[in-house]
Subunit: 345 residues, 2 copies
């Protein structure tokens, strides 16, 4: 049985290009004891993969991908063969070996090959793909940011960067459900319109329209008490300036630097941390997997009741994955970017 | 009755100079109801005053001092006249109107004139001046940093910047009392020797001797779990790189930028916050005044028992205050810098 894998063809120079990648076909080896073979059905296209395409990754982060190595990423799939007592054929699992038709998981691979064994998914009537999105990694990242790191309540004025994106849109809507005043920013007028009309935010602005300080002064004249940062760079600088005393900043990413080809300078105004007693905390959802059931219950209720919506853009087939990545990093679409590998989807 | 006040003569250009200041003598007005007249005996010379000498101060911070305005700073003094029911002549008080012989405090001045009414001090056998140092503002800044912001325990490896200074030396010793492994940095070989021989730190280095990354790799080969920052700039960058996953950073100041004449750029590696789930928190001791009794009990015990030492350099008389400030910002001395205004001291 042959397996198509999307591999890194060369190091990108600045913004990603489709020919930075190539599909390499390899035979699938026989399963060892404890392993399962999974046929991938959905791939999650996430900004953080971009970090691993560089020759060096930040200390403490996952290592760089080698040239010729298959890309890694969150995915869903169906168990098609099992030598594990824990999984049976036909079950749906999530795992981290996306960007390929078939993945071998479990056994030694679970400890040696990446950052997690496969996880069984029971959809309970929700679409499978949502277990990569609002009931999966995107949901957990947003839930931890809002409930643990920022601990948002009705007194808060929260600025959410990249608020039309997969995580940002959930952060913004969860914060509103907690009664906070929520200001969202995004990279185009149609996205701003979406934030106001469809996500019901209290205010929204296009971060490219004018200096961020001016937009924040208009949207939050009394300042902000919390900031959700997935952008970094000038966004973080503006947040520090607009923050009230005692404010909090959750940092889940720095997309402004991922595709830039050079390090983005740090904010010149970090002294605001002292002047205004600000707490700034970075986190990765993977450290909070124990909160997944609580997250799925809270977000599942909101989604079922229509109080929270989740937008998705689906690309078709493994060959479309480079295009999907480029579009996602470029901010071309609302919400989450996915690739389907199953013609039944 | 005439009162000498040390005033700002002009905006400093880069590093402070003695002629940036001048002594102006003014008559003392009659007390209003509720006010007390205090004869200052001890002045605390603190780096943060430097911030207020610039034409602009950071948002959220105290306003700039005007040209011709008396400097402000923590001080101790004796009540010499009282129209307040709360204070009687002869009592010792701490307050924020230093840099002058006589201060009028309380009444409307307590709310209008600054950030606090006078506080009665009962020395309980400790030297008066310690209520500006290890049992006063320096002690509270260190205590909050170690016990609240960093919450240091025996598992920690803590790097303390400016560890030979007033606050840093207390942070380092308090962290050791809690069982942590403590690494201190300072700006000269004699200071490093002091950290090792007199403060008993586990490791110490001269931050000017070689790149900070190399010194940290030698002193803490497995990385640090906590960093106490009063320096900012390159120190903060190095701490982010040397930090283990889940580390914490307490930021109480950024002295590297105070006397520089230009903003110090932010760290280029702030993404470490995400990669290593780091919490970075700024604070000001003034927000934690409710912890003063607990701090005085813990530090008082350590000082009485000789488990913690506190070094001081005393300058004599108001005319020496500019020289004291310059020496303190330049890091010329160990521990705390004070000015005495009382020939009996």
């Amino acid at each position: 049985m042959a397996n198509r894998q999307l591999c890194l063809a060369r190091r990108p120079e600045g913004a990603l290009r489709a020919d930075d990648f190539e599909i390499i076909e390899t035979p699938v080896r026989t399963l060892a004891d404890g392993e399962v073979l999974v046929r991938n059905t959905w791939l999650s296209i996430d900004p953080s993969l971009r970090i691993r395409l560089e020759a060096r990754t930040p200390d403490g982060y996952l290592p760089p991908l080698a040239i010729g190595e298959p890309l890694a990423g969150l995915a869903l799939g169906e168990v098609v063969e099992s030598r594990s007592p824990d999984f049976t054929v036909g079950e749906l699992v999530s795992h981290t070996q996306g960007y390929r038709d078939l993945a071998i998981l479990g056994g030694d691979a679970a400890t040696l090959g990446g950052y997690g064994a496969p996880t069984r998914i029971e959809p309970n009537g929700f679409p499978d793909r949502w277990f990569l999105g609002p009931l999966g990694s995107s949901g957990l990242t947003a839930y931890v940011g809002v409930t643990v790191i920022l601990d948002v309540d009705a007194e808060d004025t929260v600025w959410v960067s990249a608020a039309a994106g997969a995580v940002g849109s959930l952060v913004a809507q969860l914060a509103r459900q907690r009664g906070a005043t929520v200001i969202g920013s995004a990279g185009s007028p149609p996205k701003v319109e979406h934030l106001l009309s469809h996500l019901g935010l209290d205010a929204a602005f296009d971060h490219r329209a004018q200096p961020l300080a001016e937009s924040l002064a208009e949207s939050a004249p009394a300042g902000i008490t919390a900031y959700f940062d997935s952008v970094g760079g000038g966004h973080l600088t503006a947040a520090l300036d607009a923050m009230r005393t005692g404010g909090r900043i959750a940092v889940c990413g720095a997309i402004s630097g991922y595709d830039a080809g050079a390090p983005v300078p740090g904010p010149h105004n970090l002294f605001q941390l002292v002047a205004k007693s600000i707490r700034m905390e970075g986190y990765r959802a993977g450290s909070f997997n124990h909160l997944t059931p609580a997250m799925q219950e809270e977000l599942g209720d909101h989604l079922s009741a229509g109080r929270i919506r989740f937008d998705e853009r689906v690309f078709d087939g493994l060959t479309a994955a480079p295009e999907a990545m480029i579009a996602m990093l470029h901010g071309d679409h609302l919400g989450k970017t996915l690739v389907t590998l199953d013609e039944r989807n």
